[in-house]
Amino acid sequence: MIETLKALNRIKRMGLVKDYAIAGGYAVNYYLEPRFTYDLDLFIVLSYEEDFHQLYKFFRDAGNKIENVYIWIEGTPVQFFPTYISPLFAEAVEKARRIRVRGVTAKVLSVEYLVATLLLAFRSKDRAVIPDLLGLSNQNLIRDIVKRFSDEKTPLDQRLGRVLADLH
């Protein structure tokens, strides 16, 4: 995984991606006790939407295994989520925490944006970790994020309400 982050920093320096942040299971592991995750989910900022194709082409040409939605980078299956698919993702990368892992710099979603993205996915495994993450977060900030990014299709505010109701 550390080697994967090094490779990602290289493609960032090359300009293939403008910025990225760790999301999903690895971000959950950053804040909570380690639990199994298969892949590394990354939110990536691209200059142009077409750059997403260029990114896949770059890895395909470099001989990286591409399997289903994953690109294998240094032994880790990586799933890229371009931030143009969601304004929430774009803001999450912008506000992400800068971290250093064994001398390698990276960014990880702040706990508040992580909760918001888990409310967006809202699978049972996402719901299971939200209460613990809420305990580490600024709940006013979460409410603000959730309010701004809720819509009919993804009622993040209602989902947060359900999680909080289950806690009491």
Binding site: M1, Y30, Y31, P34, V69
Partner: protein, 68 residues
């Protein structure tokens, strides 16, 4: 956790169990991220042979359960 072996009372057992488990979770939570990555890597090594046998497709992000 050894003391659990000697507790006969159900309520006391679960109280001690919960206390010990939370202590362990807090210890794991406080580990540096690099160490957590190592632990996950070990879990993945154990999981990979199983995954080779059954390859399912992953649900895309935003695919919520039916309750919406």
């Amino acid at each position: 956790m050894k003391k659990l072996l000697w507790i006969k009372d159900s309520e006391e057992f679960w109280q001690t169990f919960t206390k010990e488990r939370e202590k362990d979770r807090a210890r794991l939570r406080a580990l540096p991220f690099a160490k957590k990555i190592d632990i996950v890597a070990k879990m993945q090594e154990e999981f990979r042979p199983l995954r080779r046998k059954s390859r399912g497709r992953r649900k895309p992000i935003g695919t919520a359960d039916k309750r919406g």
